[in-house]
Symmetry: C2
Subunit: 253 residues, 2 copies
């Protein structure tokens, strides 16, 4: 695909998985808050998505947006996520539809539905538990960060309905590079490997859809997030599975 | 009931319906942006809910909150609803749980689901159409105002799950005092009379529930909003029906 794709938040963990895994697949344009410590020759812009002029420049001539930028702290205070995650996402959507962007992939989060877990732990992390979330449920955020991510999904719903832009919200699980987090049942149940992270974003950039909410995790035996929509609509075929690792995070023999 | 109930946005249409219809039912405390033009002797505070000190003072000693304040314009710009409706609601919830408020009734809106209509008009307003929304559906806001109201519902979800406060979101339809709006199918389908508006808020203040999303309309023959949750959980028994009026807004013989 030779189209230019804007990647916001390229420096974070999700951004790193995408940059590394899909380096040659798209004509990436990065947006950073500060000049990046890597790839100094790669095209990039500096600024915040909540600045309309920055967002407009970032979206110019772009076919798709992968929007990861925002305050990533699970314990971020309300004021911070309101500005960076909620307001920033709205400003970027506005710039995207103004520029004629066709596809908007939004990094949502498992924290958008965190309170479904709180009354079901630790059973919900185990293989014999039958509880499952599939993206059709109403959000139940577990913290202010989760409220901001669920609101980002809502903002996308509005821009899709109003302007026709294709929107895919990926509720990202627990991202780690080579192996699932050790001795952390929750993290294993929602593990997303780096290569699966890159792959699901690749799928979201290539597939045809209107408005989707999918879970972004690997093909874990123990999980309470359905991959049905991601498989059916995006063609997602995850390669990893936390069950292939010991509880200590080592690959099984 | 002799408990003090905080009423924000008491000056607006919904607030007027509640003040008039439930004048003697609760020990009301009003919160206004400016000194009110009526009831000068009634207890009130002046300020905005988005000011933490104002919100804290307003919630002190209060058993329940009816939160109507916010930018009411259907075409309000994003920045205005972000500050007044989204941020203001979060600040008030924070003050409410801090003060130990037990029940929080939030004035949500039909605009939180406005885009379900846009692809179904005008059929959806007619009696032979079978489409219905019941509050379990994911929001599809029809404008920035609708985004802000759906976000207010989300904020309430978080505060309920995290702190146990009872939350009822009432997606208010088309409020008018004595008769449904004339020659306006949409307004007739979602008509809420003043007395039914007062009654549903009374129900929401008296009933036992955890977290609810209900539609606030009269018992209209032609509608696409289910009253099932409002009837079952709140005990709502609407008295009015837009079908009892002619299309010109006159009562039928």
């Amino acid at each position: 695909m030779d189209e230019t794709v804007l990647l916001t938040g390229a420096k974070g963990a999700v951004g790193t998985a995408i940059r590394e895994g899909l380096a040659g697949e798209y004509d990436w344009r990065y947006l950073f808050h500060n000049p990046p410590p890597f790839d100094p020759d790669h095209p990039y812009l500096v600024g915040g998505v909540e600045e309309p002029e920055v967002a407009a420049e970032a979206c110019e001539g772009v076919g798709a947006v992968v929007h990861l930028a925002g305050d990533p702290r699970r314990d971020a205070p309300w004021d911070a996520v309101l500005e960076s995650n909620v307001h920033g996402t709205q400003v970027l959507y506005e710039a995207a539809v103004e520029a004629g962007v066709e596809t908007f992939v939004f990094a949502s989060s498992n924290h958008a539905v965190g309170h479904y877990e709180s009354e079901r732990t630790p059973e919900v992390y185990r293989e014999d538990d039958r509880f499952v979330l599939d993206g059709t449920e109403l959000p139940r955020p577990g913290n202010a960060y989760g409220v901001s991510k669920a609101t980002g999904e809502l903002i996308g719903r509005y821009y899709h309905d109003e302007y026709g832009i294709s929107v895919c919200n990926i509720r990202i699980g627990n991202l780690s590079r080579d192996s699932p987090p050790a001795a952390y049942e929750r993290g294993q149940a929602m593990w997303l490997s780096y290569r699966d992270c890159a792959h699901i974003h690749d799928c979201a950039l290539r597939a045809d859809y209107d408005y989707e909410i999918v879970y972004g995790i690997s093909d874990n035996d123990r999980t309470f997030y359905s991959l049905e929509r991601a498989r059916d609509v995006l063609g997602y075929e995850p390669a990893d599975n936390s069950a292939e690792y010991t509880f200590e995070g080592e690959p099984k023999e």
